[in-house]
């Protein structure tokens, strides 16, 4: 799923925040090119 792809990470404060997703994706072999955490309140 991540092989040879650039990964865009869009996390959310109350779900899984950006840095945590990025760590998981990188550990799974992905290359993260964008990482943000959204907060809607």
């Amino acid at each position: 799923m991540f092989e040879g792809k650039k990964v865009i990470v869009l996390g959310e404060r109350d779900g899984v925040p950006g840095p945590a997703i990025a760590e998981c994706v990188e550990a799974a072999g992905g290359e993260v090119v964008f990482q943000k955490t959204e907060c809607f309140v």
Partner: protein
């Protein structure tokens, strides 16, 4: 989706080409459908830079089964495991399946 993030992602699609990109989301159940629609078929609220722009990006959620099984066990346990009990996984899987068109 934050309008600034819509603009940034649109820029990345232009820079790298959508065929080279994958999106991974992390929001609780309710926000997933809107984010997925925005990135696949365009901003449904017609408010942001992706209004009427159909990027067709492949969109996943970090807690979808097919994604989380790829994460090494120890990282998974620290970062994700507890959220399985908190977030509405059936809704996340269901909404994504619908937006993908029964994929």
């Amino acid at each position: 989706m934050d309008l600034g993030n819509q603009a940034a992602i649109k820029g990345l699609a232009e820079k790298f080409g959508t065929e080279n990109l994958v999106v991974v989301l992390g929001m609780p159940g309710e926000g997933v459908r809107l984010a997925a629609e925005t990135l696949m078929t365009g901003d449904p609220s017609w408010a942001g830079p992706l209004a009427g722009v159909s990027l067709g990006l492949p969109v996943f959620h970090i807690l979808e089964e097919k994604v989380r099984i790829k994460v090494p066990r120890d990282i998974y346990a620290e970062k994700l495991e507890m959220m399985e009990m908190v977030l509405d996984l059936p809704r996340i899987e269901g909404d994504l399946a619908e937006v993908r068109g029964g994929n």
